[in-house]
Symmetry: C2
């Protein structure tokens, strides 16, 4: 009877130690390695009282691309999948689409054919599905879609196709006094209805591309009508412009995954003091998708990889640096 309690006591001590270590790790879905270390080192550096690298709380701004950085972007940008679903839903009201491209191909199920028209075809699809209603109506359409639509590969709601390590990173930065922002090429009004719930990022901290809106009275009630006219494209050189317009401060940390994020990372790095720039590299064909320079969606060109090396930006390998990709894996 003497050994048993001791064994239990020992086990209890070991377990307590383990759980304390786990509780202490704010990034449990990250493997130990250079990427994880660059994050924790940076945060320690800029939050240590008395350090010359200390950054005041109000200046702790972190910006995140969305497609391919916070959530998946394959086989197509989710917003484009939303638009395709909307074309199908609206088709009965538009008999003329049966003979008009890009809608005709699309309605026959030929997505590739529909998108063969390039940017022009894409813009047509976006405008008929994203304009012509009030902002409140569009918000409801997005909410309904996001609540029901499922990802073609993962068979899960799109909001579950978010990267668990990045969700942990967002929470970790906020716990250290950061304000976290999305700065995405995607539509600002397509993201806002769900980013608070999914990422903890409120609508006022979402920056994105937009179409113009117009204030008018409808049945004596004011509405904002969504017009079929681009207002702002928040991509590439547009990202620093969008950051300046919406945030008015330079981020001290920025996270992206494609050529569209290069200027955001340059802009972040060009400020004074400690900075953190990271790029997610999609190299996990088994658990997600593998693509980079050759992909039309989320292109990570060789030139961007060269910039990353030259500038000391950390490239995150989804294969090696992430223990878990999606929460539903566990």
């Amino acid at each position: 009877m003497k050994l048993v309690p001791n064994k239990f006591a020992l086990l209890a001590i070991i377990l307590a130690g383990l759980s304390a270590a786990q509780a202490k790790d704010p990034l449990p879905s990250w493997n130990d390695g250079a990427a994880k270390k660059s994050i924790t080192d940076f945060v320690a550096k800029i939050t240590t009282e008395g350090s010359s690298d200390l950054v005041p709380r109000e200046e702790r701004i972190a910006t995140f691309d969305n497609d391919g950085t916070l959530w998946c972007e394959q086989p197509l940008y989710f917003q484009l999948l939303f638009a395709l679903d909307r074309v199908r839903a609206l088709a009965p009201q538009h008999p003329e689409w049966r003979t008009k491209e890009p809608f005709a191909s699309l309605l026959k199920g030929d997505v590739k054919g529909a998108l063969a028209g390039g940017e022009h075809a894409m813009l047509k699809i976006i405008m008929v599905t994203h304009a012509g209603m009030t902002t409140a109506e569009f918000e409801q359409i997005v909410k309904d879609w996001i609540a029901t639509a499922k990802h073609p590969k993962f068979k899960r709601p799109y909001t579950e196709c978010v990267y668990q390590p990045m969700v942990e990173l967002l929470a970790y930065l906020r716990a250290n006094g950061f304000k976290t922002f999305i700065v995405s090429g995607g539509g600002i009004e397509f993201m806002r209805p769900w980013t608070e719930k999914v990422y903890g990022i409120p609508p006022e901290q979402v920056v994105g591309s937009s179409i113009k809106t117009k204030y008018e009275m409808r049945d004596d009630k004011p509405v904002l009508m969504r017009l079929p006219e681009m207002n702002f494209i928040d991509d590439k050189t547009g990202k620093p412009v969008g950051i300046n317009s919406h945030i008015g401060r330079r981020p001290i940390a920025a996270f992206g995954n494609s050529d569209g994020d290069q200027q955001m990372l340059e802009w972040t790095q060009a400020g004074d003091g400690a900075r953190l720039m990271m790029l997610v590299h999609h190299d996990n064909a088994v658990r997600e998708f593998a693509y980079d320079a050759e992909s039309k969606i989320g292109t990570f060109s060789d030139a961007l990889m060269a910039e990353a090396k030259k500038n000391g930006w950390t490239v995150i390998s989804m294969k090696d640096d992430w223990k878990t990709i999606f929460a539903f894996e566990r």
Copy 2:
């Protein structure tokens, strides 16, 4: 010896009571009256746990016009006074201005003549003084001006010409879980360098008019160049558009002082639940300025007054509702 301690004790009790009452009043520069009561009633209503009017913290958005609502706007918008100072400062580099309107009149000291050209003249003055430099350079120019320039009537820095009752209101709302935003027709980059210090409103919570910017490399460093081209006018019907673009939520409280604020108040009121809409009326010629329907600056038209009555918007009389206008009065 018996009465003395009692007297002191009585006095101490009275003083303690007074100071407790003062400490409890979050709006000491407001006279008791309908305006002050409408604020405290509204805040009590939307913050009372269990009440059907309770508004979740994240939805407590309050928007404030700046010129004439948070700070003074006479004898001219302060940003225009800034632009006039800049024209004078830049004149030596522009000999051609000596014969070119609106600059010629301006440099002769004839401000009225310079502005006789209306919006077109104003735009010319704004563009030569607000564009053609980087965002960082412009920020420094604004900081230098705001640190040194003085108001022509009050002989004080412009940042002291802010309304003490409104500064208290901002703090009171924030203490009750509100996020406070500026939504001004003024230039967004003209306000951001000083709003945090003066109003406690950080750059990312400032919405305003803007010119376009362009991302480019200068000596291998990325900069945002300010272009002589309007991007967005955050006034009248533009205010709900700007609110939607920057905040992405409808305010539950909005504060203005002129025709330019009508649509912001309409938009605020059109949401569900308890709402607070207020308009500052400049009726104090002795301590500030008295102007309304006839003024070109900060026009408060009879039509706006009729809208306020019809819609139940509270009109704040600077004469009757404000005990103190500027902190420097005390």
